[in-house]
Chain length 147, copies 2
Amino acid sequence: MNPNDGFRELDREECLRLLSRVPIGRVVHTRHALPAVQPINFSLDADSAVVMRTSADSELAAAIDGEVIAFEADEVDAAAHSGWSVVVTGRAAMVTDPVEHGRLTRTGPRSWVASPEEVFIRVEPELVTGRQLAGGRSVYGLGLSSS
Amino acid sequence: MNPNDGFRELDREECLRLLSRVPIGRVVHTRHALPAVQPINFSLDADSAVVMRTSADSELAAAIDGEVIAFEADEVDAAAHSGWSVVVTGRAAMVTDPVEHGRLTRTGPRSWVASPEEVFIRVEPELVTGRQLAGGRSVYGLGLSSS
């Protein structure tokens, strides 16, 4: 079997570094018993948790609070056949502490759909995995580095 | 509850039209008991099935053949807070018929990592859902159309 299907596995540090470069990721969860994938803007907290912001009464908040979910982000160049993808898997939790909420209001992601009452949702980075796809040539021959 | 969290639900036709515009999507499945999300190039078949191309011995092919999976694609403008996301849910199946394989060699997606033996995987569009996010303003006020 083609090892890793032509992908180079990334270590945790590389994954988090790449993740910090993009503004959009995708929450992977279940909605009405079906797989749901929702793009959303996010930021990384100081402890590398994924932070999202949504209205307090959103369907998303209700669906994922307390659940183990996957959060994915990627950058893919279709023309060059290259890119990377990172998945953070961990438990999502609404931030209920007012001090933490205040902190994230200053440091966290902006809201896309303003609503009267917003909450932050943090996803603990319990498992962080990633892959880098090198287009067309041997992964090792491309001299890919973490920079 | 904010209806659909500020998203406008898209009908099947709109979803497939949007899906046909992008070269990359993501396979959402399970790998080593964990959620796996893998970006991959694809095309839509004449019957709107999602078509992927991979090496015959790939981990991906082994993982999803015969399984119900989700395939997601999106276009998101982080600055404008707008975009769309479509999810096709259906059973994935390796194409084994040589005539079909020949047809897809001509009409299907190109392979990113050339391998001696490649297969096509089709995902039946059993369920096609999508959402369009309008940035910051009422969805209805933006006059969004299908064009």
